[in-house]
């Protein structure tokens, strides 16, 4: 495979390189050519936009068209066809980049704009008891705490199982039938749709509690753990595989038992990657709505007991509050609450991601590169 790729690469690349007499004296665009063209296109875009009398979107679009055309054409006139193609692709790649980033920016902008003014200390410290369920005051303290609690339960269940399974797959089971089938089943598990996890948790807790309508924080934890486990196993497995075998052998040579080798050598070496993987998995499930809707339900105040009764969580709060936004009298207040809760949820999830990055950076083993 590799060999053929290599060969093909060469046989194709060489004639093309020769075909277009690379002249050493060929012209070259100035280093800041892209910036110059961009400035020019922006100007043209604005002028054309003003002439055609339309909004910012049109200006941006016209400017972009001018840039994508002008930049390669300039290159074509000075540097030749191949360089022009190169510049076209470069311009397109960056355009795609902007296009792909636009929704994220728009989303964050919308949520911050609409949710920002709502998130006050009051909003964060109150719950929805009493008249808050209509229009007065009220906040999402209970939902924040519920999300933290349910997600923590999920992590407590999923992390040990995930890490140990990965340890088994990499350190003990490698090559064995059982390990292969577990790897296969982990792939199957990755495919469990989140709503199915919720349905399963409901069925499980009907059997366990005998309650025909189980509403339990622990149930949400189990449903989320089901979604988390495959992600954790995958990322930990990858990280463990990266640990050089020399380290293990050195440890064995010193007479260290295998389990101590794993605990003291293998896991610490890959701890940064493991923590990052786990945190990302947590961030992923913290925003899950569908399973929580089915198993944890809603509750107007903080419920700290995962074994007794419904727990309010942020995603469910957002989803159910949405139905109240058409309320004639209090619709606007509910709309504010929805966006405020969305902002807080994004902040929590993104903060988890950032923490993962920080841990990843701080603990990353200093590589030789």
């Amino acid at each position: 495979m590799t060999q053929s790729t290599k060969t093909r690469t060469r046989t194709v690349a060489v004639p093309e390189g020769n075909g277009h007499h690379l002249s050493v004296s060929a012209g070259k665009l100035p280093r800041n050519a892209a910036l110059l063209t961009a400035a020019f296109s922006t100007a043209v875009g604005i002028v054309l936009g003003l002439i055609l009398g339309s909004g910012l979107t049109l200006m941006a679009f016209l400017g972009w068209v001018v840039f994508v055309v002008a930049y390669p054409v300039w290159a074509l006139s000075i540097e030749g066809r191949r360089k022009a193609t190169d510049r076209t692709v470069q311009a397109l790649a960056w355009s795609i980049f902007v296009l792909a980033m636009a929704p994220l920016v728009s989303l964050v902008y919308t949520v911050v704009l609409k949710g920002g003014p709502v998130v006050t200390p009051d909003f964060l410290s109150r719950d929805m008891t009493g008249f808050a369920s209509l229009g007065q005051g009220g906040g999402i303290y209970h939902a924040i705490m519920g999300t933290i609690m349910v997600t923590a339960i999920a992590a407590i269940i999923a992390v040990p199982i995930g890490v140990f399974t990965a340890v088994y797959l990499v350190e003990y089971g490698a090559g064995r039938r059982l390990a292969q089938s577990i790897t296969f089943l982990v792939d199957v598990m990755t495919g469990i749709p989140s709503i199915v996890a919720g349905l399963f948790a409901v069925a499980l807790f009907i059997v366990i509690t005998g309650d025909p309508l189980p509403r339990l924080g622990i149930g949400g934890g189990v449903a989320l753990a089901l979604l988390m486990i495959p992600t954790v196993i995958r990322s930990v497995e990858e990280m463990l595989k990266l640990v050089p075998n020399d380290l293990r052998e050195a440890s064995y040579a010193l007479g260290v038992p295998k389990w101590r080798t794993i605990v003291k050598v293998v896991l610490p070496t890959s701890v940064a990657g493991i923590v990052t993987g786990i945190t990302l998995a947590i961030a992923r499930v913290a925003g899950e709505t569908a399973p929580l809707l089915l198993i944890v339900g809603t509750y107007p105040e903080a419920n700290w007991s995962p074994f007794d009764g419904a727990v309010q969580t942020l995603p469910v709060f957002i989803y159910t509050s949405l139905a109240a936004t058409s309320d004639v009298k209090y619709g606007d207040i509910w709309t504010d609450r929805v966006w405020g809760a969305a902002l807080v949820l994004i902040i929590i999830v993104m903060a988890l991601n950032l923490i993962a990055r920080v841990i990843g950076n701080v603990f990353a083993p200093k590589s030789g590169r």
């Binding site: 590799t2 290599k6 690469t9 690349a13 390189g17 191949r82 193609t85 190169d86 470069q90 790649a93 355009s95 795609i96 792909a100 994220l104 728009s106 989303l107 199982i161 890490v163 140990f164 399974t165 340890v167 088994y168 990499v170 003990y172 089971g173 059982l178 390990a179 577990i182 089943l185 792939d187 199957v188 598990m189 990755t190 495919g191 469990i192 749709p193 989140s194 709503i195 199915v196 349905l199 399963f200 069925a203 089901l226 990858e238 595989k241 007479g255 038992p257 389990w259 101590r260 080798t261 925003g287 709505t289 569908a290 809707l293 089915l294 949405l322 969305a342 949820l345 999830v349 993104m350």
Partner: protein, 319 residues
């Protein structure tokens, strides 16, 4: 995937007694714990599977009322699978060029200083909860797309894709939201794969006078081809199971319509969105029907994910 070393070679030999270090008890406990977790995963999954089968299979003879107005359970599930696959397929058509462009910028075009924060930014997109995506799709994206849909319907209604009426909560809107939700995953994998292209290949191409694009076309793409397919399939797996965003954005009734049109109000429905919209009100035999749909989604997602993994492991070996 990101490691070149065969796991079989990686693990230390376990059966050579001489190599075995002392303190067996700790080892036994630890290895049993590891094995136990692995078995627990199997039990978990078996539980889900048994639950789905037990609850879902009674729906096999559902028809009419209990199959939501469809003559048989197969028609019911078929309609929903059509919608699920169609919506996810559209999303993949949108996401593939975007992800390739994005991954190329991060791995090859952007200077290192820019590439790293950009990589974080893309990962942040993965952190946005789907209910917030749905909210944004419904309130921000959909109204913006309406003029474009009207234009398409006016000028291209002879293409089946753009025939019928116009609606801002159409299948295409849902697919665009799905695309942006799958984008971070696909991009992350592609980035990884592009970055793995052997340095020697790239440098050889550049040394022969290739431009950067020629280098990418001749050295990076051939090397990454199977990885690219795998990445798209894994993104597809994500899009198939997405519930809330579609449920919130898409205008669909019951099992949806068997239509090609992507901009009208009469859309196919997806399995996940159908369950989310109707589960609460279901009772009796309809619950079985609902869970049968869940089973179908489970299988569909598994097939796609498995194909993705299979192609990924079949990919180029370094060495």
């Amino acid at each position: 995937m990101s490691t070149a070393v065969d796991p079989g070679r990686l693990a230390p030999p376990t059966d050579k007694a001489a190599a075995k270090p002392p303190a067996r008890l700790g080892d036994v406990i630890f290895s049993k714990a590891a094995l136990g977790s692995g078995l627990l995963v199997i039990i978990f999954l078996a539980g889900v599977g048994i639950f789905l089968l037990l609850q879902g299979l009674p729906a096999l003879d559902a028809e009419g009322e209990s199959a939501y107005g469809e003559p048989s359970i197969w028609k019911f599930v078929g309609m929903l699978i059509y919608g699920t696959v169609y919506a996810s397929f559209l999303a993949m058509i949108i996401v593939t060029p975007l992800a390739i462009g994005l991954a190329l910028v991060i791995s090859h075009y952007a200077p290192r200083k820019v590439a790293k924060p950009v990589g974080y930014l893309v990962d942040l997109l993965a952190a946005v909860p789907s209910v917030v995506f749905g909210l944004w799709g419904l309130e921000v994206l959909a109204p913006r797309l309406l003029p474009a849909y009207q234009w398409l319907n006016e000028h291209f209604s002879w293409i089946p894709l753009f025939s019928g009426g116009v609606n801002q909560r159409s299948l295409l809107t849902a697919s665009i939201v799905l695309a942006f939700m799958a984008l971070p995953i696909v991009t992350a994998i592609l980035r990884e794969i592009f970055a793995q292209t052997p340095r020697a290949h790239e440098e050889a191409a550049l040394a022969l006078g290739a431009t950067r694009w020629e280098m990418i076309r001749l050295a990076v793409f051939p090397y990454a081809r199977s990885g690219m397919v795998a990445a798209v399939l894994l993104g597809l797996g994500r899009a198939l199971g997405e519930t809330m965003a579609v449920a919130m954005v898409l205008s669909a009734t019951g099992t949806g319509y068997l239509t090609l049109s992507v901009i009208s109000a009469e859309n196919p429905n997806t399995i996940a969105a159908f369950i989310a919209n109707n589960y609460a009100n279901a009772s009796g035999a309809k619950i079985n029907t609902m869970i049968f749909a869940g089973l179908a989604l489970f299988l569909l997602t598994f097939i796609v994910n498995f194909a993705g993994r299979w192609i990924a492991t079949r990919g180029p070996k370094k060495g």
